[in-house]
Subunit: 228 residues, 2 copies
Amino acid sequence: MSISLIGLDADDTLWHSESHFVATEQRFMELLSPWIESEEAASHLLETERENLRLFGYGIKGFTLSMIETGLAASDGQISSAALGEIVTWGKELLAHPVELLPDVVETIDRLASVGYRLALITKGDLFHQEAKVAESGLADRFEAVEILSEKSPANYQRVLDRMNVSAAEFLMVGNSVPSDVLPVVELGGQAVHVPYHVTWGHERAEGERGNWHELSSIAELPALLGQ
Amino acid sequence: MSISLIGLDADDTLWHSESHFVATEQRFMELLSPWIESEEAASHLLETERENLRLFGYGIKGFTLSMIETGLAASDGQISSAALGEIVTWGKELLAHPVELLPDVVETIDRLASVGYRLALITKGDLFHQEAKVAESGLADRFEAVEILSEKSPANYQRVLDRMNVSAAEFLMVGNSVPSDVLPVVELGGQAVHVPYHVTWGHERAEGERGNWHELSSIAELPALLGQ
């Protein structure tokens, strides 16, 4: 591979994220248990989140508003205002949650930088919260660019590559989401490495033609894949 | 003035925004009228918004969550869950509100572009919603760059200037907010034009040493100020 630029996704690639959402969803399902089965609550919430994506985009604030909306609908308006206030508190707790780096992240990034790769953090979602997490992670200085996109579309990836003067053929993207980190990059002619996180949000699950990208079980295996 | 790059703020500079928030706040004050006077409700809401800024950043989703939090606190938990659901609906209506350009915006931008100024749209707030509004406005193609910042700090302005290869001395920023569009640019050594909107969010009100920037009553006066 003649890779010059490595893009790294952030949530669930560099640090834990989805596991916090899952824990909150668990509390949400308990809150709705007087009216609705857990599984039904989860699928109702995912449906509401998906419908709201075109208005809310990604991120915790939209997730919180979608929980409130689902709580009202699934309880047929029976949920108490205090319970809705609790949901707001969960959202604020999620936003304030400390950044917890995944294992081997710092060592791997330092290794890749030391052998001359250019590194970009490429994430999507809420600009304000993503910037706060990048700052808190202590990793910002290790990246030549930090790009926060509203959506990981091929066009948005292309803009990042243009800005960094890199062709798709020299670009490798690493992340936990097949639809966000793998497929759009493969579509552009770049390389992609899928490193699954132990849980995946329903909206980020997708299948594609395996074989068009690399699969690793840990980011620590990345230098070996690159022949380093 | 030897200006090469003109930065234009978006909300309340190119299109209406704060007037929609004010209309929603009006409904919020009515909703809380059983428990609290209008003025008190407004100041309670502003206080909550300010406290939440460090977690939420700017934008409608955070505003909506702050209304819910304020409604619960100001009614001492007496507000109904249906009323909180109504607040969520207002938030979604605000997000879906069509973009309404301010008068003379298109003509002024075209005029400035035709005489050779580089133009950048520089706004802050919610990445997803701001991108959607830029797209809907039909103005995107008129700007060499569209920069959506989490905060209009001097450091963030400097990053935009660096990226566009422009010194602060060649930069003029135009906007309706003294703390966001004027003071940080003046601090960097750039020029700023304040074009007030007819209403200003409490958080964006600020005084500074007048005389360090230009005041216009309409964006239409901008070409004349620049000697065009």
